[in-house]
């Protein structure tokens, strides 16, 4: 049991590290496009860009996944995945839903 738990923690840490490094690479390449792809605010994008490798590694070694599920509504999820949809259409649908989600995040951030 504890062995399995240790393995899960390590897997989470691996994903966190890969995710953080990718996110930082994206932000450094093209800030606005990265914000679009990652669904993060400009403040968070700037923070990601400025993090050192040591900071990233420290943050990644967590028991919690740092990337969250972006299709967090059952209705949207089943609309995209459902009924054996063609890959191209599925990708297009995903793109449209993700854009709206990124905007919503921004709007609530502005409103707050």
């Amino acid at each position: 049991m504890s062995v399995a738990n240790g393995e899960i923690s390590r897997e989470i840490g691996d994903i966190n590290l890969a995710y953080m490094l990718l996110a930082q690479k994206l932000v450094k390449q093209d800030r606005v496009a990265a914000m679009f792809r990652l669904g993060v605010s400009s403040e968070l994008a700037d923070m990601l860009a400025s993090m050192s490798l040591a900071q990233i590694v420290k943050l990644a070694a967590s028991n919690f996944l740092l990337c969250s599920f972006r299709l967090n509504e059952h209705a949207s999820m089943s609309a995209v995945v459902g009924e054996g949809k063609d890959t191209m259409l599925q990708q297009a649908h995903m793109s449209i839903l993700m854009s709206a989600r990124s905007l919503q995040t921004r709007k609530t951030a502005v409103a707050a």
């Binding site: 609309a79 191209m88 990708q91």
Partner: protein
């Protein structure tokens, strides 16, 4: 803009080159770039190897409502909106940026761009002049390009309710090919529009 700085002119030329490479029409270049028509034509010839196509842009809002076009238009406009909110650049640069992002997305999906640059620009103008709107699908909550003043409640998008003929993968490809062929557009689609009955721009 009577006397332009050398640097300003370099920027204009760079803008024109980007736009021509993306497939912008001459009418668009003239309205967005502060260079003479003659210089724009020369640039166009140098980059494309041919003279810019003549003729007006008889685009209608109806094109954006056809099945595959609506999917691509909605993808693009969502990106454009995002860029507009998060970028402090000029509108034309936002247009270029979001169009490139659209092309990237299409390449990642292994499919062909259906929305050409001029159509993307025309769509933005239609939105600005309140002829198009984004309607929210009541099933997937995605936002899709729709005619302005369409009733918004109970709207179901083209992806949640695809037409039966286009429901399958092969059907989609055929429909896309058919649409492109019908418009006489090759590849990236910079050909002269021949579709009749369009609501002219301007």
């Amino acid at each position: 803009m009577t006397r332009k700085s050398v640097l300003g002119e370099v920027r204009e030329v760079q803008l024109a080159i980007q736009l021509i490479q993306l497939g912008a029409r001459l009418q668009f270049l003239e309205s967005e770039v502060g260079l003479s028509r003659e210089r724009l034509i020369r640039l166009y010839k140098e980059i494309k190897g041919v003279s810019p196509p003549k003729g007006l842009l008889p685009f209608s809002t109806d094109w954006y409502m056809t099945w595959l076009a609506n999917i691509h238009s909605s993808m693009f406009y969502n990106m454009y909106q995002f860029m507009k909110i998060h970028s402090d650049k000029e509108k034309v640069w936002i247009l270029i940026k979001s169009y490139k992002l659209y092309l990237q997305q299409i390449a990642a999906q292994d499919s062909e761009p259906i929305l050409d640059f001029t159509r993307a620009y025309t769509m933005v103008r239609f939105f600005d002049s309140d002829m198009l709107q984004l309607s929210t699908c009541c099933r997937c909550s995605g936002q899709f390009v729709a005619h302005a003043h369409d009733h918004k409640s109970g709207y179901v998008c083209v992806l949640c309710r695809p037409p039966s003929r286009a429901g399958k993968a092969r059907g989609a490809k055929r429909a896309a090919a058919g649409e492109v062929a019908a418009l006489g557009i090759e590849g990236m689609g910079f050909g002269v529009e021949t579709a009749p009955g369009g609501t002219g721009l301007h």
